[in-house]
């Protein structure tokens, strides 16, 4: 490696900033999880909450991957490897969708519907 003179101080600043951002996002995660006014959609954990929760987690994960794992400036071969990882990962998750789209039987107790009302 050519012994280029690195400006480590600016790097350090970035790392601190990312570290602090990760802490902040962790607080965001927990507030989203437990504070009722921020419960999106219908009461309780619902798809809206899953999306926002996973979006925050995804942001944190990207920060770690891009800055701490240096993926923001890596060599092409690593990106190629990760492209395949990504494709395989997506197809792995898609398998569950196939299963959900093609259930074996109707669930056993959905027949007695209550028509949106609590039955006394």
């Amino acid at each position: 490696m050519s012994e280029e003179v690195h400006d480590w101080d600016s790097h350090k600043k970035t790392y601190w900033a990312v570290g602090i951002a990760l802490f902040v996002f962790t607080f965001v995660t927990i507030i989203l999880g437990i504070w009722e006014p921020l419960d999106l959609g219908p009461p309780g954990p619902t798809p809206a909450d899953y999306v926002i929760g996973l979006a925050v987690a995804g942001t944190k994960a990207s920060l770690v991957a891009l800055i701490f794992m240096h993926l923001n400036h890596e060599k092409g071969l690593i990106y190629k490897t990760l492209l395949f990882t990504f494709l395989f990962f997506v197809s792995l998750m898609a398998l569950t969708l196939f299963a959900a789209a093609d259930p074996i039987v109707e669930s056993y107790d959905t027949r007695e519907t209550t028509n949106g009302k609590l039955t006394e």
Partner: protein, 479 residues
Amino acid sequence: MEIPYEVKPRRDTGLYNAKLGVWLFLASEVMLFGGLFSAYVFLRTGVQDGVDNPWPWGLNVHKGFVWLGFLNTLVLIASSVGVVFAWVALKERNWRKYQIYMYFVVACALVFMCVKGVEYNSKLNKHHGIKLVDNSVMEGAILDKTDRIRFEGTRAVFGLQGAHPAFLNDISDEKFPTFTATVQFKKDEEPIVTEISSESQLKKWFTQHRRIAARKLTAERTRYRKELESGNAKPVNLNTSATLVSSEPFNVNAKPTKVVGHSDTSVNYRDGSKVEGKLISDDVKFVMHEVDLQLVLPQKQRDSLVWDVIGDDHAKKQFFAKQQEEYNKMRDYYEGRGETIPDKMLRGHMLNLHYIDHEDHGHDGDHGDDPHKSEAKHSASGGDGEHHDYITVPRDKIKFMGNHGPRYGNYYALYFTMTALHGLHVVGGALVLLFFTVFGKKLYLKNPEHLANRVEVGGLFWHFVDLIWIFLFPLMYLL
């Protein structure tokens, strides 16, 4: 021999070899955890119509664990920052600083695993659930190991084959009785009678006689085959069962998972062994925290078995008051948009899983007509000096009971698989980083850039472990 491209990048890849190596490894790790995340999504989406124990929705059942998971997230992020700065310190050729950062990282890993230990201990030893035969579920804690069948034995029968008979592990440790062991292989033979006064002696005796039985059985079978050729075969006739009779009654606390059935006079184990004597009690003492009726249809909830078992109208009133409150919230939400509440929400945990308060338990005095009901609630002092209000659950009303271990339900199976696998990664990563710190000085003096590269690669793995936790935390604790 010099290994090439430890420091210098290869011209074709532009990378030093270890870096490419670790990224390929991380790619395969993504698939490993990806498979488990995919299983999580699959089981989670299918949870509404399942016959499994209900999913323990985030804030209801494991409120306390959220904070432990939160703490662990902070700890792991701190350690991730630490690893980056340790690497920068090496790049700046500052050995002392590098060491300090690395020890900080290892300390974080230690804290993480300790918190995990607290959590596991709590799930495995302090939290239990009981599913009744009508699929209503009570969450809480089983008192004093009363999930076991308490039995006073006088006689035990078991086969001299296979492993040690299962009841042996369930004999109460306090006093081991004096047994008279009898084996009679054939009717016309003298029975072999032995006095046994300790467990180790019994185990030794068992092994010895199992060997004798095996030998006799082989001889008997050989005889049978020979006779078969001559056309006049008497069937194999060998009694390989043994009997233990004790001088005084001994206490057996039978594990329900090992037992096929029991009556007032005997306990039958899965492995075929049997203890005879007198049943002391098979009631389960249970401290109840939550009632979960997700698996009971709304129109059947008021007549659910769980209210008979609790035997307390206060709890029932409390449950339905809370349910009504949640229902109103939900109705307001949906009516505000001109929709009706979907069935799925009516069956969900928001309406059907509620904490039952114990403070003002049983003061309304309106449950006196049925003597069984009014006696159902008791108090007991636990070993830790805490005062518990417990209910007695008859065993024949129970479909399933257990601690919150992997077999309690899909969530717990996944929780333990994923967090334990992640925990192993934490331990492995921390050991490698610790190695670089304790034994790295020599390499540092020889070629600091080489050590920096090793730390970078170790750090990449560490960040990956952090990254997995970033997803595990919301998925397992919050959503």
